[in-house]
């Protein structure tokens, strides 16, 4: 192959967005909403992401909001990378994956290209979110919090997008009927995976940071297992139209 895998990943990412701009637009809007939610903590009071309660009844919103915002920003990244899943099914149905195989690629090579594309797209949104977070933090006086939020988003979003993309590509490969349910299902799985990051800041704020980091580690491990097993367990014939 004369083309580098990274170059192909970029082309696939671009193709995905050109095929379906809706997910990209919704992802950006959700990211902006999440950044606003995070910066709203500055209006409520002195923000802390250590999870220490301030003594009042109920969750401390100045702490909880930035952490809930992390989960929302991760979900925005999943949405932003969803066109790659759509493209994967489209390419399978049109014989593009079959052609890749005929060029000497293995099913693992094919998965890797689309995975790279999904990670590239989500990285673009994570970078955009980081800039937006820091800008909002500087304006609202919560710069330290915004840096922590940005770091948490990056640490959680990339493994979640990797795992979500891999299992949805596997699902789409195994699907016999040509139905377009893989993106909504991918979204649902993404929401389910990030669920602890939504709930724990509100229910047990003191554990929120720990739960977020555990979630990131567990998902990274799952994504690695999914990557290693998908190309072994799913035969080349499953990539045919």
């Amino acid at each position: 192959m004369s083309g580098g895998g990274g170059g192909q990943g970029a082309i696939i990412a671009k193709r995905g967005v050109s095929l379906s701009k809706t997910y990209a637009v919704i992802g950006i809007l959700m990211a902006l909403l999440a950044v606003l939610l995070s910066s709203a903590s500055g209006l409520i009071g002195s923000a802390s992401v250590t999870g220490a309660p301030t003594g009042s009844q109920g969750p401390d919103l100045s702490t909880a909001l930035p952490l809930v915002s992390v989960a929302l920003q991760v979900f925005a990244a999943i949405l932003f990378s969803a066109p790659v899943l759509l493209l994967y099914v489209y390419d399978k149905n049109n014989g593009v994956l079959e052609y890749f195989l005929s060029l000497g690629m293995t099913q693992g090579d094919v998965y890797r290209q689309y995975l790279k594309a999904a990670l590239m797209l989500s990285s673009v949104l994570v970078a955009f979110e980081a800039i937006a977070n820091v800008t909002a933090g500087l304006i609202g006086g919560t710069a330290a919090t915004s840096l922590v939020v940005s770091a948490l988003v990056a640490v959680i979003a990339l493994p979640v997008v990797a795992f979500d993309s891999l299992i949805m590509m596997s699902f789409s490969s195994l699907q016999k009927q040509r139905v377009g349910s893989n993106q909504p299902l991918g979204m649902a799985i993404g929401v389910f995976m990030v669920m602890p990051a939504y709930l724990v800041p509100l229910a047990v704020p003191s554990l929120a940071l720990t739960v977020d980091l555990l979630l990131a580690a567990a998902t990274a491990a799952l994504a690695s297992v999914a990557y290693l097993s998908a190309s072994r367990l799913i035969g080349r014939e499953k990539l045919l139209p």
């Binding site: 083309g3 593009v96 195989l101 005929s102 293995t106």
Partner: protein
């Protein structure tokens, strides 16, 4: 010169065999026409040779290298499936460039080769089925390979473009192996020198097309005179005098008799295709 060898290959989908114990050896550079009814196993045969399907048993070798396992060997193949496999959201040039970045080759050359310059800036999704097929065929010619697997390359194409593609293949086949599937028996006979007949997942004939003989076939003769008294021919379809023969020599003898009787023969052609019998289940003897 490349040698393609399949020995005892059984292959299929989901553990269900479609091809059964296929053994062929192609060592002569030529166009091998692959014929078979729908569902006979032609596409499965192509996918197995291309290394896309892993055979349940047997080997597929190109110059002794296993095409199922060797990535390098698979890079010596060009495979055209009957799916277009073209990113439809791209322009023609970008779509070809997409593949050129993976496998190399010159986009400008294939645009010129398939007369696609006028379409290069149009979106693939806006093209007609025939134009899409041309783009799909163009990607196969980005790089020259030792083995071409072409699954119905001229379907949806107009006769002029079909002829251009056949001419390209005839040039390539001088020192390469081209496997070419078609449903058109006349096209098959025109383009190919060798025949691979697939029936129910088995190879029922593998050999020279020129060796295929129908038991009987009809010859149509156009003349300026009534010839029904001179040879055993009756005026029939399309204004031809129809003569039934078993060998080309019989047809030649009939022609000689007409000429000796001073008849001006304006046209003489086979009305049946010898491949028809074979295709529909007859034998090759």
């Amino acid at each position: 010169m490349p040698t393609l060898e399949l020995s005892g290959v059984t292959s299929g989908y989901g553990g269900r065999p479609v091809l059964h114990d296929v053994t062929i050896k192609a060592h002569e550079p030529a166009i091998y026409v692959v014929l078979g009814l729908n569902g006979a196993g032609k596409t499965t045969l192509f996918r197995t040779i291309a290394g896309i399907l892993e055979p349940y048993s047997g080997e597929v070798l190109l110059d002794g290298e296993d095409l199922t396992r060797s990535r390098e060997a698979r890079k010596r193949i060009n495979y055209l499936s009957h799916y277009n496999a073209i990113p439809e959201e791209m322009t023609v040039r970008d779509a070809l460039d997409f593949y050129a970045k993976i496998e190399g080759g010159s986009v400008d050359e294939v645009l010129s080769l398939l007369n696609l310059e006028g379409l290069k800036d149009r979106k693939v999704s806006d093209l007609s089925q025939g134009q899409k097929k041309r783009v799909s065929v163009a990607k196969v010619f980005l790089r020259e390979r030792d083995l071409y697997l072409l699954d119905e390359p001229t379907s949806n194409l107009d006769p002029a473009v079909s002829k251009e593609i056949r001419d390209i293949l005839l040039r390539l086949a001088k020192d390469r192996i081209v496997l070419y599937s078609s449903h058109n028996l006349y096209e098959a006979r025109d383009v190919g020198t060798n025949l691979v007949l697939v029936r129910d997942g088995r190879i029922s004939y593998f050999g020279k097309i020129s060796d295929v003989r129908a038991r009987e076939y009809r010859v149509g003769i156009r003349t300026t005179a009534d010839i029904s008294g001179m040879i055993d021919a009756k005026l029939g379809e399309g204004g031809y005098y129809v003569l039934t023969v078993s060998t080309p020599e019989e047809a030649g003898l009939a022609l000689r008799r007409l000429v000796q009787n001073g008849v001006l023969v304006t046209e003489m052609r086979e009305l049946d295709n010898p491949l028809q019998d074979l295709f529909e289940g007859g034998d090759t003897s």
